[in-house]
């Protein structure tokens, strides 16, 4: 991927944070995020980072994450953008005055891959319905839990959240549906993340 595209993406991702230096409680701009998320693994990149928006008393979150996967045994690094929604049906449980727990979080995301070999449409020379999926877009999903810690001695960060998730993605789910010998553990993988709330 060209440097220019990377810079553009970094710029777009950082836009929402411009107003964060200002008063974070009262008059925050509509596009200013409520938190920033950093995730390790979970099919959105080795590391993924981006703004998090909180709705309905944190019952619903929206995130836009930029992720990358280093070369490892491949020829090229992967870059991807993921937009995802997180739903937490159960309210936070207070453990003590510092820690709270969200017992269940569910996420559903759509990733876009910036690479030539991932096409958004198939060449017209392919027979019709030869391939049914779009290779540049992947759907990911997961279940997990969150641990929240109140931060009292910082001016900008109010809360730190640690979360873990067990997730999978569309194509491997279809494989498991097709073949009964694939177990849940063949298609699931783990992710860890932190969220800094403003």
């Amino acid at each position: 991927m060209s440097i220019r595209l990377l810079v553009t993406m970094a710029y777009l991702l950082s836009l929402p944070f411009y107003t964060l230096g200002q008063d974070s409680t009262a008059t925050r701009k509509w596009y200013a995020p409520d938190a920033i998320t950093l995730q390790f693994a979970g099919n959105v990149g080795m590391f993924a980072v981006g703004p998090n928006y909180s709705f309905a008393e944190d019952k619903v979150n929206a995130e836009l994450l930029y992720g990358f996967v280093p070369k490892l045994d491949a020829e090229e690094v992967l870059h991807l953008l993921t937009i995802r929604g997180i739903y937490k049906p159960i309210r936070r449980v207070e453990l003590n005055d510092k820690y709270k727990v969200t017992p269940l979080r569910m996420n559903l995301g759509l990733s876009y891959y910036f690479r030539d070999q991932f096409s958004t449409s198939w060449d017209s020379s392919y027979p019709k319905n030869y391939y049914w999926w779009t290779s540049s877009l992947r759907i990911t999903g997961g279940l997990g839990a969150e641990l929240h810690r109140k931060v009292s001695n910082s001016r900008s960060i109010k809360e730190l959240t640690l979360y873990g998730e067990l997730g999978t993605y569309d194509l491997i789910v279809t494989s498991a549906v097709k073949d009964p010998t694939l177990t849940a553990w063949d298609i699931l993988s783990f992710a860890l993340g932190v969220r800094a709330g403003f």
Binding site: G45, V69, A74, Q117, S125, D179, L192
Partner: protein, 274 residues
């Protein structure tokens, strides 16, 4: 009675311990992307390592050679397991050829799952690239795991030429028929020649302009068999005249495979239904 908070935290702790135990046992991996390529040593250079194993068998030109042809293992893990264990019960097989489409989506995970089954064979296996192996990130995965697309190797008095015929997935730049012709010329010292590729020359996805020249080459160099997968059904026909048979093997899903026996210049085959 426990307070609500304590009850919750105890439940959570129990759930956490259970989760950690399960994760530690079965799901040790953190996956970065469906398109990541992260391999262990035994998942790299499979073709060249297995060809070295075939060479080490020291099969002489007068020995009887027996090999298996199968193809299209894509997502049929249950059937692959049965097929592999069926082949493993025999003692007469020297090696196995997979005629492409190891995977549905060209994902590392799928390639790994297929290798997990086929590496349990007592004999080496060699794979040619299929169209489904060349989509998404598949080209890079296949190269990292199996090696070059166009390769050849000799056993006894037979030469095996593996050809990439995935015309559409390689921007109509394959099959490389010039390379094939050079390989066929170099095969002249061998009594038997087999050309193995995924898409049969009679399919439209082979590229119509390639089909004609391919047939001419088969006849000109007296190729014994043109071997393929792709159509998921057994088919034995002679589209290029009586001299060169074209054989398509069924997908592993059909629970069948082909056994070829080479004795001197005589080649025969048997369709095995499990």
């Amino acid at each position: 009675m426990l307070t609500r908070t304590k009850w919750y935290s105890r439940m959570l702790m129990a759930a956490g311990i259970l989760l950690l135990a399960l994760v530690g046992q079965a799901c040790e991996e953190f996956e970065y992307s469906p398109y990541e390529i992260r391999l262990s040593e035994d998942e790299k250079n499979i073709n060249s390592r297995n060809i070295a194993r075939i060479n080490a068998l020291n099969i002489s030109p007068t020995d009887t050679l027996r090999f298996v042809l199968t193809a299209d293992t894509q997502g049929f893990y249950e059937e692959n397991e049965k097929l592999v264990s069926h082949i493993s019960q025999r003692d007469d097989i020297d090696f196995v050829l997979i005629g492409g489409d190891l995977t549905d989506f060209g994902l590392t995970k799928e390639f790994k799952l297929v290798h997990e089954d086929f590496k349990t064979l007592k004999v080496p296996y060699v794979a040619v690239v299929g169209n489904h192996d060349a989509i998404n990130n598949g080209k890079q995965v296949f190269t990292a795991m199996y090696g070059d697309y166009d390769i050849s190797f000799a056993v006894g008095n037979s030469n095996f030429i593996l050809l990439n015929t995935n015309y559409l997935e390689f921007d109509k730049q394959v099959p490389n028929l010039d390379w094939l012709e050079a390989e066929l010329q170099a095969s002249e010292g061998y009594e038997n020649v087999f050309v193995i590729s995924h898409i049969p020359p009679t399919n439209r996805e082979f590229g119509e302009e390639n089909g004609v020249r391919y047939g001419q080459l088969m006849n000109q160099y007296n190729v014994n068999f043109s071997l393929h997968g792709h159509n998921h059904n057994y088919k034995y026909h002679f589209p290029f005249g009586e001299e060169v048979p074209v054989l398509e093997t069924a997908a592993t899903e059909k629970l069948e495979y082909i056994v070829f026996t080479v004795i001197g210049g005589e080649v025969s085959f048997k369709r095995v239904l499990i």
